[in-house]
């Protein structure tokens, strides 16, 4: 399975190249790649159906237990097949949808990258492996949403999606790490074995909260649902693939994967049911308020995701069955509807519901696909959607609140299905929509396949789909003997009655929609306080805040920066000195004063008088020269105390500094006093404090010298092994050569920075 991932990454990398070589035929290899992966995953089917998990292990970072361990069980296989099958169709569809786009190669790169990371996500057993792929899906989603980079809307939406899911990703990482600490295992299978320890551990609650945060952001649960409708700025194949069928289900996948480990305590079930229920109802209500086809589909997707989370929250065997079947049905019909919406957009140039009438005459195949998908969405017998809906009702029968949620969502789904499958295609409207005459095979074939898939799986539900779904349910419930029975016809049960009631209510809602639409304008102000508006407010606040903070901190005066650094350093030192209260025994040091030589005093006098003169001077040239004098004097000190290397460097640097100053002298503005008298005294005080502290620390270090053999060691080894007698230099270029390499790299980068600053021309507005 590692090779599957590597193959996908390779295909992603060569996609732009293939596009350049093959032109529009690039679609051929890009469609074949997912088909190949589909075949690969099919080959694992017999083993998985017997109840064994296929495990492949590759070490990656063994020291940190980060390994590429892949594990293919029923749940993973179901997802992997869905992803690669859908991937092939979407790749095919995209070649028609984006025909002639000069950036098609790049689009395939992103899309294949996404598909590969999604496959990696669902097959990883190692939590860090899963996290890496999780983040990769976020990043590729960002790239795909922002594919139409010229449009501001797309860029903003891409940012929003990345920030929301990225933030959730961070929370998820923390949660997974806490889980791994609690369960002392870095794999999901290991965590499952140690379930009792995880449940007892004090980290359980924070881990659950963080993991839920990650899953809810990814799967667009309330209150993080707002990024998904905005993500519809992406090209339609992306919306169908990422934001309906696969990526947003990554959160569902992880919840299902962790459900056997974490379920049990009330907090898990209650929070899942609450968030899922609110999301389901909210999505259903919001979907009916929109007239953009993609927006409607996006909100119903949110609603469906909410239902899935609710089912996971109920946590009974029936609920898990319902969850998995509904997930499959939803992926099939929602994918179809999205692709059809894309086709409509492509042919008519609009996605506005009120401008689309009786398209069925011109778009027969798309219309057929949409109608089939809509029937599945509405839950009409004999489609897979019907089976899913029945199971949903069955799972929530005992709790009236949950039943209500399912009913409301179902009714809204029926209404939306009528809109998508009946109104825009077959309803006779007063006005005709302009339709581009040329029907495109590549645009109607994939939705047809998906729509018939929904029908066939519904008809053959107890023979074809059953074994894999059963393995999936067994994985989620961690019960290897669980039997899954699916059938189209249950006989006359209360559930069937509910189904028929849903259909009737949905029809009524559809008929009432125009009337409701007039009333819905009242709700508009609500959008201004919703999470989307809150996100934008927060975003702007953050930008503004960081801007003003930086303006305050970095005022452009070098003296302020030096002052901050000194303040901070002094503060730290004073804190340590206050905490540890180390004292210096000055009596011991007094006798050292007797050893002071005359020339040392002379140099000291030179420095001090130069400093005093410097403070009073009003000429730049004088101050440069006096600064040079001070520098040379300190170099003298180095020589006197036996550090010729340092002294030589100091001499040279001083010389260079003076020369460079001289070079620049006539370009600098006139020497003015920027600070008044008080500022000067303030700076003097700070410098004196800093100097005194440093002196104190130096004395302290000398008094409390730590005995160490470092000096002897370097002295010996640098001659014997490093062939050098100059220990300082040998340390620099040999023992700590890597550090020096880092330093000179920094030096080079700093030089480039200085160079670009020098080239800035402030008179021309800072342009180079």
């Amino acid at each position: 399975m590692l090779y599957a991932i590597l193959f996908g990454l390779l295909m992603a990398a060569v996609a732009p190249l293939l596009h350049r070589l093959l032109g529009r035929w690039v679609a051929v290899p890009m469609v074949l790649a997912p088909l190949l992966l589909l075949g690969l995953y099919f080959s694992f089917m017999p083993e998985v159906l017997q109840g064994h998990a296929v495990v492949q292990r590759h070490t990656w970072v063994p020291e940190l237990d980060i390994n590429l361990q892949f594990r293919l069980d029923g749940l993973s296989l179901l997802f992997a097949l869905l992803i690669s099958f859908f991937g092939a169709l979407v790749m095919f569809y995209a070649s028609g949808y984006l025909e002639g786009d000069p950036l098609l190669g790049r689009f395939y790169l992103f899309l294949t990258l996404f598909m590969t990371s999604m496959l990696g996500l669902v097959t990883s057993d190692n939590i860090f492996g899963l996290f890496v792929f999780w983040e990769l899906t976020s990043i590729s989603s960002y790239l795909l949403i922002g594919y139409k980079q010229a449009e501001k809307e797309a860029r903003v939406a891409a940012w929003q999606a990345l920030l929301v899911t990225g933030l959730g990703g961070l929370a998820l990482m923390a949660g997974l790490i806490l889980l791994s600490v609690a369960g002392d295992s870095y794999t999901f299978s290991g965590l499952l074995e140690r379930r009792p320890e995880v449940l007892e551990h004090p980290f359980y609650l924070p881990a659950v909260v963080l993991v839920l945060l990650g899953c809810f952001t990814k799967s667009a649960q309330f209150p993080f649902h707002f990024w998904l409708p905005n993500a519809m700025a992406a090209p339609t194949p992306v919306s169908a693939y990422l934001h309906s069928a696969t990526m947003v289900k990554a959160g569902i996948y992880l919840l299902a994967r962790l459900s056997p480990v974490l379920s049990g305590p009330d907090v898990w079930h209650v929070s899942l049911m609450t968030a899922g229920g609110i999301t389901a109802v909210l999505g259903a209500v919001l979907a009916l308020q929109h007239t953009d086809l993609k927006a409607i589909l996006a909100y119903t997707t949110i609603s469906a995701l909410g239902l899935l989370v609710t089912m996971l929250g109920i946590g009974t065997d029936e609920a898990m069955k319902a969850m998995l079947v509904f997930l499959l049905a939803h992926a099939l019909y929602k994918g179809t509807l999205f692709l059809v919406a894309g086709g409509i957009d492509h042919r008519t140039g609009t996605r506005d519901l009120n401008r689309l009438f009786s398209l069925g005459k011109h778009m027969r195949y798309s219309g057929t696909a949409a109608t089939l998908a809509a029937l599945s969405m509405a839950g009409v017998i004999p489609f897979l959607g019907f089976v899913g809906k029945e199971l949903l009702y069955e799972a929530s029968l005992e709790n009236y609140l949950l039943l209500g949620i399912c009913l409301v969502t179902g009714v809204a789904f029926v209404a939306v299905a009528l809109i998508m499958g009946y109104r825009i295609f077959w309803h006779k409207g007063e006005e005709k929509t302009q339709v581009h005459p040329h029907a495109h095979f590549r645009l109607y074939f994939p939705p047809l396949v998906l729509a018939f898939g929904g029908l066939l799986l519904g008809l053959l539900v107890n023979s074809q789909a059953l074994p894999l779904l059963q393995q999936g349910v067994r994985t989620i419930t961690a019960d290897p003997s669980l039997e899954l029975k699916l059938s189209l016809w249950h006989g006359f049960t209360p559930v069937l009655g509910l189904s028929i009631l849903t259909l009737l209510l949905g029809l009524a809602l559809y008929l009432a929609l125009p009337w409701l639409g007039q009333r819905a304008a009242v709700l508009q102000p609500l959008y201004r306080v919703g999470p989307d508006a809150a996100y934008h407010k927060l975003f702007e606040l953050f930008l503004h805040g960081s801007k003003s903070f930086i303006l305050w901190l970095q005022d452009g005066h070098l003296r302020s920066y030096v002052m901050y650094i000194m303040f901070f350093f002094c503060g730290l030192l004073l804190f340590i000195l206050w905490r540890d209260t180390p004292g210096i025994d000055f009596n011991d040091r007094i006798y050292q004063l007797q050893e002071v030589r005359l020339y040392e005093l002379v140099v000291l006098f030179l420095v001090i008088s130069a400093l005093v003169y410097l403070l009073g001077t009003r000429s730049r040239l004088t101050s440069i020269v006096v600064m040079g004098l001070i520098g040379y004097s300190s170099a003298l000190f180095y020589i006197l105390f036996g550090a010729p290397d340092v002294a030589a460097t100091q001499f040279l640097i001083e010389t260079l500094t003076v020369v460079i100053f001289v070079l620049l002298l006539h370009k600098l503005p006139a020497f003015i006093y920027l600070s008044h008298q008080f500022m000067k005294y303030k700076f003097i005080a700070i410098s004196v404090v800093f100097g005194a502290l440093m002196t104190y620390v130096m004395l302290l270090v000398q008094q409390q010298a730590i005995p160490s053999q470092l000096k002897e060691y370097y002295g010996k080894v640098s001659y014997l092994e490093a062939h050098g007698r100059n220990i300082v230099n040998v340390i620099l270029v040999d023992f700590r050569g890597l550090d020096t390499l880092g330093e000179i790299t920094v030096l080079a980068v700093a030089a480039l920075g200085i160079f670009s600053l020098l080239r800035l021309n402030p008179e021309k507005g800072g342009k180079p």
């Binding site: 040279l652 460079i660 001289v662 230099n729 270029v733 050569g737 390499l741 000179i744 030096l747």
Partner: protein
């Protein structure tokens, strides 16, 4: 700063400075010195030259090589006379004084930024021999011979030379840019 004494003295002092800086570079392993100091000395040599003659002149003298060749002549049918002319034109005579034919010239420029890049490259590549021997990156290896004045050569010497070039290139880049404006 165009005083004639300074300018004349610097013209002869700059090569000496450079020689000294290279000496300091190689000396660094056993005595005070090394790549950093050597690079600073070398850059000071050029900086003084630029101070005395102007930075354009420094660039033309030390960082730009004019290579002459005669138009229409291919290297394969070169006569000894042509070779002699070529050597003379490229070394001490002005091209026009050698023969009155059309001379074509190529300009090879050494930019300080390239020196920085080369220095960084040398420093980072000096660790590779260790890797090739299966030891950690930057494990030093030494030649067995001892050269007078320079001393033993080894990968740390290469590293130091990289530091030398980087420092030299960096200071020159800054000074040339500043004095150009």
């Amino acid at each position: 700063m165009r005083t004639i004494i300074f300018a004349t003295a610097i013209r002869y002092l700059t090569p000496l400075f450079l020689l000294f800086s290279v000496y300091i570079l190689f000396r660094g392993h056993n005595h005070p010195g090394g790549g950093f100091i050597g690079g600073l000395i070398g850059s000071i040599a050029f900086v003084f030259h630029a101070l005395a003659h102007g930075s354009d002149h420094t660039v033309n003298t030390y960082f730009r090589l004019k290579l002459y060749s005669q138009e229409g002549k291919q290297p394969e049918h070169a006569s000894p006379q042509y070779m002699w002319d070529l050597v003379r034109a490229n070394t001490w005579k002005r091209a026009e004084e050698v023969t009155p034919v059309n001379w074509r010239y190529y300009i090879v420029r050494v930019r300080p930024a390239y020196m920085m890049a080369l220095g960084l490259f040398l420093a980072s590549i000096s660790g590779v021999p260790g890797l090739l021997q299966g030891k950690p990156y930057m494990t030093a290896s030494w030649l067995e011979l001892e050269i007078p004045i320079i001393g033993t050569l080894g990968t740390p010497t290469l590293f130091d030379a990289g530091v030398y070039l980087l420092v030299l290139g960096m200071v020159l880049k800054m000074v040339f840019t500043m004095s150009k404006e």
